[in-house]
Symmetry: C2
Subunit: 592 residues, 2 copies
């Protein structure tokens, strides 16, 4: 596969032969050659965005270049390639993301527009592809494979079967199938996953995996099923087992996940690391402003003891080969001139970044377009006719229930693993036909409201969330991105819902007359603002949330309690779901 | 790209999950994992020719297999992949070649049917593809890029332009463009090479290179032109320069070329060797009987000091990745069960070879089909109407030449490099209007006779060939494979020609009533016999040749004096050609 399309090969050949002048010569540099691991003095000639020649010491240019850039003795390394990320997690649209990550040296991203796919279906993915064209960053898309994550257990804005995935794979800029998360479906050979993967195989495209804790016979079956990579291992043994099975391991460190040390452990003593690459998965705007992007994972890997040259290869050539790109990830004749000048091989912020031979960032400053094109209008995707008043947020006891109390299955963090929720039956008072939690400061309500017009919603009781008063609501809520509301007070829940309905989605905190809304009009997932605007707003919202919580609650805490593939109990618009066996559980205990 | 077609993925998944029994379990082995470099005890389960699971110690099979093979503690490694070879050089047709090389552990070959392409065009390549289907060996074909090697300087049986190459690339089993030898055409961007390479690029196919001594600006231009690999370097520096330019280096050791030590030198100290693989290029039948195939190059690389595990990867996983195969070159779930059991990691003859999970050779003995299918009939490709009598082999002086002598441009080995021929003017007697070499024991005649019906032929004088009497003739004569005859006596030349015309081509030695003919009826290049029959016949022919030569003349000595891309003077059916600038030189010196 070639990233460079429509290059005039004849011009490039002539430039290499010294018959026509180059656009740019980057000189006075130490080149890191990612094919050989050599570092040497060189000058790099570029024409039409392509490297035409790397001249080593003693090799003179045959013609002067139109422009020179003095590297002042710095290292020149290829731009970084992110093997797996969700643009939506940054809360930026592709056009704005480009401005944020190019200064950190990332020049190519392979994205899973899984979130917008769940909300807006093919239309959403077309938007991502179209909007990405406005950016200088190379943005490739993989077709989301699991929309919705668990059919029949959540109501999403779209359902992708083989037909939709096939249609996506035929779009320009789509280069494979994105993280195949339904690993159970793959190793049990469900017709749905089988037919979706068939679409990738028949086009000979890359099949990205996602298989936490999958080992032994299941891992072999998953591998045979098609997926070629994984970024979800939980320890070094798991990494090693997957490498032995021929999978590419994507070392991930995201704003959500901090298990990089385990991943690194699995490949530290490897004789060869060419099946290891790097991904960021989910990165938040604040991190993009402060620590960066792929460079930050590079830095962490080096801090964990991997060799810098090896790690840089994991972020450049290895990802390119994983995807089958023949002209990305290296600085050599015929390769895209995506390059960065760095002071040290340590993942620090690059001094300068070249994108297709054009200086696109210097000393952290983005030098591309003055401002985003903007001007997009988005359909309001928050369609919640079932919410007419605060009454709709009250948890009513079943018809015919007698007595002053009722036993409720409370969602509660497991003692052994606070991350996943168990169900604990609790006897709670009944007041005016509704469950009353007023005597339980540790409890709140949680509602999952279908926002695609189905009218579904469910309400449950949640323990130890940290909410003290008011309500938090979010239309970012993996993976169906229904409206999730966590609340003490039904009035506040209603107000929060109406706020998000009005602006087309976002995240908000409400308490009486107080409100703070982060508007995310693009599918209820992304802002149209740039990173510099979003990050402080997220910080401000965090401060607002702190006012109504015990201070431990993250801005996106409401975004991660609806995903029925995580092992634990979650709530979707259809009810409480056990993520282990993906079966429903009742809100009220059986022995009520 | 996947080698395994039409596999029932559902069955394989079920087998991995232990729901259906496997065909074969290879147990009691030490597995060399080419992804990680680990060696460990394992059992390998196979179904339908595919590895479904590699169970490490402690992992029990979920169901018993239909059959077990006891590895008796040996190493299990993947079958070898040859990145570049010409089947025709073995003098065997693909079906018979399979029998010869499987016992040496080669399970996949990527071939350049360049010779038969020159003789028979697309029809010849279709024959190779069809005949290969009769073999158990995986045989892939690359489309010959330079037929003929130098248009207008030799008459071949076919001319391939972009259209023919495109037609080839669309055939099943064709996976790229074969060694792009016209490197001058590539770096000078000739329309012919540009359009041929376009066919490969637009299909996103592998482009095999061939660029001896190409460096600096030419190398950059060649690389931009498309070719991705090289097997022709002459020293370690050249290897390193090509690796730095992102080329795959194919370490070659063939029956014709002995420069492996230089190639190894160039990658010995490389940090990473994943862009290095192995090829055999041209291997003769005798070598296939005695030292083997890819295994022999593996052995030589190890003898030259490379690490055995690294070298085995160069002959298995690296070639698979070079071509983009996702299911060859390793022993892992979903990979073709092409495997070999070896006593040591040294390139020695394997104890057992499995092809698609089937035991195909044991202790050097081929266990496939009892005998070749045979039964092919070949068109006689030796069409030489211009040869009517011995008179046609006399070197006549130009009309109107006066005097008893004439100055002839004699083809003569260069003093500094015996391999390539210079031209040396010599004054020779004229007798009956013809050049007379009877007083010069070091001289003989050489004729190149077009064998495709054009009627062209040329005759020159050759020094120091080693012929003492009689004639040698061959229809194997790179690359056009015209009839080349080296002779003292025109009568013997005529007889030799008629012998080869009668049998459809081959190699022969003739002297008076004595004759020895190795018949190669398949295009005048290949026998229909097996390796066991061909090799002794070649030995016998060598003894026959020894009788009419000084003993230094190889059987295929006549095959390498017509190729106008070698740097030196050669003779084609159109005349003497200077291989450096590809211009004609006169047979009689200008000052005659």
């Amino acid at each position: 596969m070639r990233a460079i399309k429509n290059a005039d090969r004849s011009r490039l050949i002539k430039a290499a032969m010294g018959e026509i002048a180059c656009d740019l010569c980057v000189r006075n540099i130490k080149l890191l050659n990612v094919f050989t691991g050599d570092i040497y003095s060189a000058e790099v000639d570029v024409l039409d965005g392509v490297v035409v020649r790397v001249r080593e010491e003693g090799e003179e240019a045959l013609l002067p270049a139109a422009e020179y850039f003095d590297g002042e003795g710095r290292y020149l390394i290829p731009g970084f390639i992110d093997t797996h990320m969700h643009v939506e997690s940054t809360m930026m649209i592709p056009e704005n993301l480009s401005r944020a990550i190019l200064p950190w040296g990332t020049t190519t991203i392979c994205t899973d527009p899984h979130e917008i796919g769940n909300v807006m279906g093919l239309e959403g993915i077309r938007f991502m592809l179209e909007n990405a064209k406005r950016s200088e960053l190379r943005q490739y898309v993989l077709a989301p494979s699991c929309v919705p994550s668990v059919p029949g257990k959540e109501g999403a804005g779209a359902v992708f079967g083989a037909e939709e995935v096939g249609e996506l794979l035929d779009m320009e800029g789509v280069i494979g199938i994105a993280e195949i998360m339904d690993y159970i479906g793959v190793y049990n050979d469900s017709p749905r996953m089988h037919s979706i993967i068939d679409e990738g195989i028949k086009r000979d495209m890359y099949l990205q995996g996602h298989a936490p804790n999958v080992r032994g016979s299941e891992l072999a079956a998953y591998r045979i099923g098609g997926p070629e990579s994984d970024h979800e291992s939980n320890n070094g043994d798991e990494v090693r087992a997957k490498l032995r099975a021929g999978m590419h391991i994507n070392l991930r460190s995201s704003s959500l996940s901090g298990r990089l040390n385990y991943l690194v452990e699995g490949c530290r003593d490897l004789r060869w690391k060419d099946y290891v690459s790097i991904c960021t998965d989910d990165v938040h705007a604040r991190d993009l402003l402060t620590v960066g992007h792929v460079n930050n994972v590079v830095k962490m890997c080096i801090d964990l003891g991997l060799e810098p040259i090896e790690v840089i290869r994991m972020a450049t050539l290895n990802p390119a080969r994983e995807y089958g790109f023949k002209d990305l990830g290296a600085i050599a004749p015929g390769y895209a001139a995506d390059m960065q000048l760095v002071d040290n091989l340590d993942g620090g912020r690059p001094y300068a970044v070249f994108m297709g031979g054009r200086l696109i960032a210097k000393e952290g400053r983005y030098l591309g377009k003055d401002k985003p094109e903007g001007g997009m209008s988005f359909p309001n995707t928050v369609n919640i006719p079932q919410i007419r008043s605060a009454e709709d947020f009250r948890l009513r006891v079943p018809e015919g229930h007698k007595g002053d109390t009722i036993t409720v299955n409370v969602l509660k963090p497991n003692e052994d693993n606070a991350k996943y929720k168990g169900l604990k039956p609790m006897e709670l008072p009944v007041k005016d036909g509704c469950v009353d939690i007023s005597g339980h400061p540790e409890l709140c309500f949680v509602a999952s409201v279908n926002r695609y017009g189905s009218g579904d919603m469910s309400i449950a009781v949640f323990a130890d969330f940290g909410l003290l008063k008011g309500a938090m609501a979010s239309t970012v809520s993996h993976d169906s991105h229904n409206l999730t509301v966590v609340y003490k007070d039904a009035e506040d829940a209603y107000k929060a819902s109406m706020e998000l309905k009005a602006c087309g989605g976002g995240v908000c905190a409400v308490c009486g007359d107080f409100k703070d809304v982060l508007e995310l009009p693009a599918g209820g997932l992304m802002s149209t603002e740039t990173c510099e605007t979003i990050a402080p707003h997220v910080d401000a919202l965090k401060a607002s949330i702190d006012k109504i919580t015990d201070g431990t609650v993250k801005v996106l805490a409401t975004a991660v309690i609806s995903l029925p593939v995580v092992p634990g109990y979650v709530i979707t618009d259809m009810g409480i779901v056990n993520g282990v066996n993906q079966e429903f559980a009742p809100v009220f205990s059986e022995n009520m």
